[in-house]
Subunit: 650 residues, 2 copies
């Protein structure tokens, strides 16, 4: 037999939105956003309900309440501004407004029922009840109303008083919340600073920033490059790992198994006699140099993202200090990282299933706090899908509790559900499948998934157009036109995007039949000629300026795809909510051939009448057309300009 | 700071389906159904997982486990047969198969890596571990395998042993479930007996079954009518309330405020000096008569549904015995039931918000158990949307724990979300909006909602074509043709449907501009001439026989709507899963005019080739057509036959 409840909380509150997986994970928003909450709220019978949206931040014990209003069909809505960079809790409560319920019944009976004396006695009891609970001014006012009510000469006059909306408001304020019921879950929303959703990233290998042949770059060299990077319009400078690189089984050029003398090894092979994750590779400089560099980055209006890769070389201090953190094989040796039949013999993976797993969690937290104390606020996490998801959930929550401005980018290129759960578990941003979405249909489908499904509430894409691991075929084959249109797509489809350096040089030499760069910086020191012919630095600079000047490009969900009668031409629009900024973008996704398309201008979405003239101002090549009607013919020559970004003006 | 977990349960298990509102409410199935469960299950890294669907009934403490298999894209599936009429709990668990993980890695390395001696030592450790845990025969076999392994002449032979699938199965059976993780929720499925989803209901006022003018019918009179009702093909005989009717403020004919002498009052005004909810109205007979009647109903292969209406007249024993169960007004009087400005002065509503609410709950349970002990297994509950939903949730669960074969039909004609939550909270079946769905578009939309949304998991419609409260306009206006086609719709769209008596007589006299019957049985004793001209008893008999002979008509979810090129002609199909029974049904929804339509026969769904001949055998008028191709012209004359039910034969 199931037990009777002890108290009666009879109101149905369900389908509270947003809610992710029944409240299992938080949704995400940005400081300044308004959180719009809806819920289905109803009760048996005909009582008049009131509903409250309630929220609090970790600093507050008590709920702040917002009145919800009935929308339609038992759905209620309320909202509040997420003004702080923190993790809010929110929920919904509802109750019966007893006086209002009685008052509405009185309204209906008035005129239809002759004797309302018993009803009026009920009303008086409600007012008296509220008066008893009220204090100060409220109490005094209610007392006055009661006196008026008592001295009313007749029933009609009493009814007039009882129906008075000022009295009703006063009683509502003080009466008990009858049948008070709260939603079963407390929900959470992680509110990040704006960089979480908007920013242009630029990735470098610091050691490639040297200027002398045969000599690796240092943090000082990196400083020298900052004005150039800043001038291109980037916001985040992402550094591949800067920690000491192991010597045992160091990888050579082009991922060869044996390093030659002078080969620097992979920066992801972390740990040497010079230290581990809380040290810097001596060839780059000292911790003081890093601090100096970081200050310079800030002066250039950018911020650093560090790589967080949980790998240890055989030379990492952990190996000696904590052999229990690694998987011992029966023969006593430590197990290399592997993805059979591939072995990564320069790396040991920490064993998250060792008996000491809790110590590993704490040490990873210590490492992150170490760099946070150095001023680092963004971490790009290497291969998070190879560590337990609950570890990340704990770690990110723990770090952000003290440092809510710290952001985490998940470098998980894996199966879709794992990518999604990492975002749900706490990752601020996620790498995506963007590099492999190369047809018009693919892009529309992928953007629809990112913006029109539950993913929109928790998964923030960072559209990297290339990475040290991914030189996509379209760039290898399509050359400069491809570099240009893929850049426009990354920078305008997603408010957060990135490139790995060399992109601006249209570097496209790959190891044949792979997406690996030839002579990859992962395994050797490179020197780039940043002014080399064919580069698209000015183009990137221009597009980044357009991004900064147009708020429509700074959010994700405002994308709409429109009709272009050519399968190679993608046509989409982005507008601010107030329609002050209206952009239409057409991209020729064929890097080889001129494509022409009839675009259907979405006049209704733009708020333009069918016979109203408007101006299409193209921002890349800076031309203007006066237009009437919804037809616009465009011709996109990949060799001159594969894309067009129009601002619509009236 | 949030705490570290104490143990590591790292596998992600999410989106377990079916799951209703995050597990808040149970889903529903029928005895004999197979419960198909899917879940997204995955883990970081490359481990080989195993997953188990687990279930138990209240009689069992331990889970029964079923192996789940990987479907695609990290989704897993498993199923089990719901063989008992009870409430099952089910959930999902998963773990790492350590030996299988190791074995697959060995397969990949074999040939690619030269020395596998360290790997083979790992494998031996896994086998030894399993052997240690095994008992009896398993232990002996594993010991033998280990001996073979130890005495293998070379690595190659050891590898062959290690890869042996018989050994792998044996180790899998005995090794520990590494990283065992269970889904966060235990879910429930209420498994009802078949009558919950399939049955034809017939509603009567027992007092109208009399045969002598001026004298009300008795249970004995009802008995006399059973052969006729049974012969029409009904399964459930639903009796309007049979309890003593109050005298105070008794309603007169056609709902007049004052009863004349001899007026019997509304059966829903329960309670008199003869007793309350656990008594029968003396005019109908005694409890013994009722028992005799009930036995007769069973002998006629039907069962009784009783009306459960939580109303009390001023004369109900509760009023004297439990005045605290009613709402006292300030003037000391008890508040009548009301829906302002309407008052129901023959009824007091029990106050579910009185301090004694728990006593009311227990008393309502006692009443139900009283009738269950008399053999009643179906309750049609009057106006459940005027009592707290959590009361029903408790009551139904409590009753069904001891009596899982008891069914509850919710008579809630109210807002959609309330109707849905009553079903979620436990109602076996629900009244619907069917009577007000009168266009082809309306029917398709409503059936789609009932069968293609989450509702399908918990909301079982009972399509009453009329009720004592609802004589729909289409029947008032459309006469006999309307009675026929609405009957066919009710009986073939939904496996459970009902009519209130008089339907078979095409009784359609209403109080003008209302859906109320004129001279309603609710307020007076009627005598019906069951053989009166124009009746459709034979038609009903025929359609009910078709329902019994065709299993395709006995489930809800198998409906598909097909194309008919006429807005008045609804065309749909119902097939059994094995396609042994294939029905196509066309209904002219215009009761006034002959309608012709070109039907597109869904050859692909039927499994018929485009040039393959098949036979359309119409069951109502019994004609047959040999057909080739997907075009079929039909002409439906409402005055002869507004509907056609084809069985497709080959």
């Amino acid at each position: 037999m199931n037990k009777l409840p002890k108290t009666l909380h009879p109101i149905i509150i369900e389908y509270v939105r947003p809610e992710l997986d029944g409240g299992r994970y938080p949704v995400k928003r940005i400081v300044g956003d308004t959180l719009e909450v809806t819920a289905d709220i109803f009760k048996e019978g005909h009582d008049t309900l009131a509903a409250r949206l309630r929220y609090k931040t970790p600093e507050h014990k008590d709920w702040t309440e917002v009145t919800m209003h009935h929308v339609d069909n038992d759905q209620w809505a309320g909202s509040f501004v997420l003004s702080e960079n923190t993790r809010y809790t929110y929920s919904v409560g509802a109750y019966v407004q007893q006086y209002e319920t009685w008052r509405r019944e009185l309204q209906k009976k008035h005129g239809a029922v002759s004797d309302l004396s018993s009803e009026l006695l009920e009303g008086k009891a409600h007012i008296t009840h509220a008066m008893t609970r009220a204090k100060g001014e409220g109490k005094a006012q209610l007392k006055q109303w009661l006196q008026q009510f008592a001295s009313a000469p007749d029933q009609e006059r009493q009814i007039t008083i009882a129906l008075d909306s000022a009295l009703a408001a006063l009683v509502a304020e003080h009466e008990v919340r009858f049948a008070w019921t709260t939603y079963a879950h407390s929900l959470e929303v992680v509110v990040d600073r704006r960089r979480a959703c908007y920013g242009a990233w630029y990735e470098i290998f610091p050691r490639s920033e040297g200027t002398e042949d045969g000599k690796g770059g240092t943090f000082r060299d990196c400083e020298a490059r900052l004005p150039v990077i800043r001038d291109m319009g980037f916001d985040v400078l992402y550094l591949t790992p800067i920690h000491p690189i192991g010597e045992t089984n160091r990888k050579g050029r082009n991922n060869s198994l044996k390093a030659e003398s002078g080969d620097p090894g992979s920066p992801w092979a972390i740990g040497s006699k010079h230290g581990g994750h809380d040290a810097v590779e001596p060839a780059l400089g000292t911790m003081e140099d890093f601090a100096h560099f970081q200050a310079a980055v800030q002066k250039h209006d950018m911020e650093i993202a560090l790589d967080f890769a949980i790998n240890a070389t055989p030379d990492h201090p952990y190996v000696k200090e904590h052999p229990e953190w690694f998987k011992q094989r029966p023969d006593g040796s430590i197990k290399y990282a592997e993805n059979p039949p591939k072995k990564y013999e320069d790396i040991y993976a920490l064993d998250f299933y060792s008996d000491a797993w809790q110590d590993i969690w704490q040490e990873m937290k210590r490492i992150l706090l170490f760099w946070i104390n150095q001023g680092v606020k963004i971490f790009r996490v290497d291969n998070p899908h190879t560590k337990p998801v609950i570890f990340w959930e704990w770690l990110i929550r723990d770090i952000q509790t003290a440092h809510p401005d710290v952001l985490f980018l998940a470098e998980a290129f894996t199966r879709p559900k794992m990518m999604r759960v990492l975002a749900k578990a706490g990752y601020t941003q996620s790498y995506t499948y963007f590099t492999w979405r190369n047809t018009k249909e693919d892009i529309i489908e992928y953007m629809t998934e990112l913006t029109q499904t539950a993913m929109y509430d928790y998964f923030r894409p960072n559209f990297f157009a290339n990475t040290p691991d991914i030189l996509p075929e379209i760039l290898q084959q399509g050359g400069r036109p491809a570099f240009k249109f893929r850049f426009v797509l990354a920078a305008t489809l997603s408010p957060t995007y990135g490139i790995y350096n060399g992109y601006e040089l249209c570097e496209n030499r790959a190891i044949p039949a792979t997406e690996e760069y030839l002579d990859s910086e992962k395994y050797e020191i490179r020197h780039w000629d940043w002014d080399r012919p064919g580069n698209i630095r000015d183009y990137i600079t221009h597009i980044n300026r357009i991004r900064r000047e147009h708020p429509a490009l700074q959010t994700l969900g405002n994308i709409h795809f429109y009709s272009a009668d050519n399968e190679q031409v993608l046509f989409y629009g982005k507008m601010t909510d107030d329609k002050a900024d209206r952009l239409l973008i057409a991209v020729n996704m064929d890097p080889y051939t001129v494509q022409e398309a009839k675009l259907t201008i979405p006049l209704a979405d733009l708020g333009i009448g069918e016979r109203e003239p408007y101006r299409m101002h193209e921002l890349i090549q800076d031309y203007r057309h006066e237009v009437v009607g919804d037809e616009y013919i465009i011709r996109l020559d990949p060799n001159t300009e594969p894309a067009a970004i129009f601002v619509v003006q009236q």
